[in-house]
């Protein structure tokens, strides 16, 4: 792992306008926005697995989509290999996509039901004019073999519905890797799989990362799974990063009260274990009007007056470990 940054994200924001009815538009002038991502800074280092964790509505998926430029940011910068993605024209961005690929949660939704698995995996080779015909087939079969879609020559001819869930997810992984990308954005890649299949896919992703020199952005709500693959992790809450650092540090000594709660909430597969930490009250508030100050303060068990007044900045409290909390001493 080198320290060079593959991706740098600076002041990234994505606000979605709230749909209003005609009457509402007549009555009020004020436009409302869902602040899905509301000012995040981080970098993804060459060769690492960077985890982005949080509950639904935290903005983790939107952040992933912004990095792939599947959605345009409201504000902020994304540098990929030092190039500002926003400065690229359509064709340049298309070429850039070869280097960044995605794996999504539902493999069934990301495979064309009328395309044979082999053709789906090799499709991008044709699109980018890298290989076609026999050469494409050779490359696809090789990749299928590598991700465990065996026997490849038989599975090549199958349609998505003829494969098991685990096989479909392998096909999606093969398709993402066939272009030999630098970055893979994996958004809940194993969330739909069964327990035993999850372990298998996780191991496969780890092997492939080494073999193809990949860098992963691993987006997940499952902190137990993240532990088995991520090197560094950022925890998001209501569009903000509240804590970020090496996985071991964050898991062993979480500093932000939200991170502490999130880690303590994970069900432990050990009947002798009893959680002692009380859970924060209530649920994530609406990202339309997030609470002022620290967004977690209404639920925070240790909040002080300053927490509702001033928004805490994400600061480095020890080497490489960042936290956004007024109560954490530097």
């Amino acid at each position: 792992m080198s320290n060079a940054n593959l991706v740098e994200v600076r002041g990234l924001r994505k606000w979605f306008p709230v749909q209003r009815s005609f009457i509402e538009r007549l009555v009020t002038r004020q436009r409302e926005f869902v602040r899905a991502v509301d000012g995040v800074d981080f970098e993804i280092r060459q060769g690492e697995v960077f985890g982005l964790a949080g509950e639904s509505g935290s903005g983790k998926t939107t952040t992933g989509r912004l990095i792939l430029r599947l959605t345009e940011p409201t504000e902020g910068q994304i540098l990929f290999q030092g190039v500002d993605l926003a400065s690229l024209g359509e064709e340049e961005m298309r070429q850039m996509r070869r280097h960044m690929q995605a794996i999504f949660q539902d493999p069934y939704a990301s495979l064309n039901p009328r395309m044979k698995i082999g053709d789906a995996i090799g499709h991008s080779l044709e699109i980018f004019g890298i290989a076609k015909g026999e050469e494409k087939r050779e490359r696809v079969l090789e990749m299928m073999e590598r991700v465990g879609l065996t026997p490849p020559s038989i599975l090549y001819e199958k349609y998505p519905h003829q494969l098991s869930g685990g096989q479909r997810q392998r096909a999606v992984i093969a398709r993402a890797l066939i272009l030999q990308p630098d970055l893979v954005v994996a958004d809940e890649p194993i969330a739909m799989a069964d327990v035993s299949v999850r372990a298998l896919l996780l191991e496969l992703m780890r092997e492939l990362k080494e073999e193809f020199n990949l860098t992963y952005l691993f987006i997940t709500h499952d902190l137990a799974t993240a532990k088995y693959i991520c090197n560094r992790i950022a925890v998001m809450y209501l569009g903000k990063i509240v804590e970020m650092g090496p996985l071991r540090k964050v898991y062993q000594a979480p500093l932000h009260p939200y991170t502490q709660a999130l880690l303590a909430a994970v069900p432990v597969p050990d009947p002798k274990f009893r959680r002692t930490q009380p859970m924060p009250k209530g649920e994530i508030p609406s990202p339309i009007n997030p609470p002022p100050g620290c967004r977690f303060h209404p639920r925070c068990p240790v909040a002080e007056p300053i927490c509702s007044q001033e928004e805490p900045a994400l600061v480095e409290v020890e080497p490489d470990h960042h936290v956004a909390c007024h109560l954490v001493k530097r």
């Binding site: 327990v195 298998l200 137990a224 859970m279």
Partner: protein, 335 residues
Amino acid sequence: MKEPLVRIRDLVVTYKTRAGEVRAVDGVSLDIYPSEVLGLVGESGCGKSTLGTALLRLVRHPGRIVGGEIWFDGRNLLALSEEEMRRLRGAHISMIFQDPMTSLNPLQRISDHVVETIRTHKPEVSEEEARKQAAELIDRLGIMAERLDDYPHQLSGGMRQRVMIGLALALRADLIIADEPTTSLDVIVEAQFLDLLKELQEEFGLTILLITHNIGVVAQLADRVAVMYAAKLVELADVEPLFEKPLHPYTQALLASVPNIRLEGDTLKIMHGSPPDLIHPPPGCRFHPRCPQAFDRCAREEPPLKEIRPRRWVACWLYDTEHQTQNPESGTQDP
């Protein structure tokens, strides 16, 4: 020992498909005791949800209960008329699904759901008294009183699941079947809900059949655990001994593949292969093609679920007395 509340014997549920008949539950026998939480675990397609719906006789077409018996509180459910069964479901058994929206009436306020349920259980309670009780119950569930007049869609997923528990309490249900109750919830909301469920279970002595793929949830909540694989029950034990020393090779592999946030180390054990096709299940033990400890008998004969020592049931030839020489569980380490 208390008498079981539910006694399932040799239950068989099949689904007719174009490719053939799928035996989704294939000869399962299981007891549920009053005031216990029985966890039913297994991976998708193992038949655990079908078993849950069979208890209510709500198996969907083209599924059918084709054999066995289900005794509930001394009555054979499979012999009841549709009308008797409907009354039983309304008054004695509550079901909590993954998505509570499917069980709540979208046009009815939360308060009306609770009031109606209280008055179903006790018709003599006045509307006014029922409203008072509903408010107390909602408060007990940690839902703010002003949410009583909300409609289901205005509540979050976590609050809806609390309402479902509230309805089961209002009904004084003898049995609650909870099928993946926390699967759609975020982790903190899940933890809050599990805390509440545990508290209420202890306070009211609720009997719960907890069906889930989430091994962590079962560890936290269940008193006993039943493990299903390919339509069969393969192991049944008290929760602590099961996690401490799983006996069936499938249970061993399943537990080893679960990520544990509390443990050091970053490798998971991998279970190779996939569950069998239930139209043409393998002969003998259904796990034998994937089992690292299988021997010749496993491919030939099907192992029955046997109580190898008190409260410890397993369906595996490794624990057969005639197979003592290879028995890894020599009994000497037992207390």
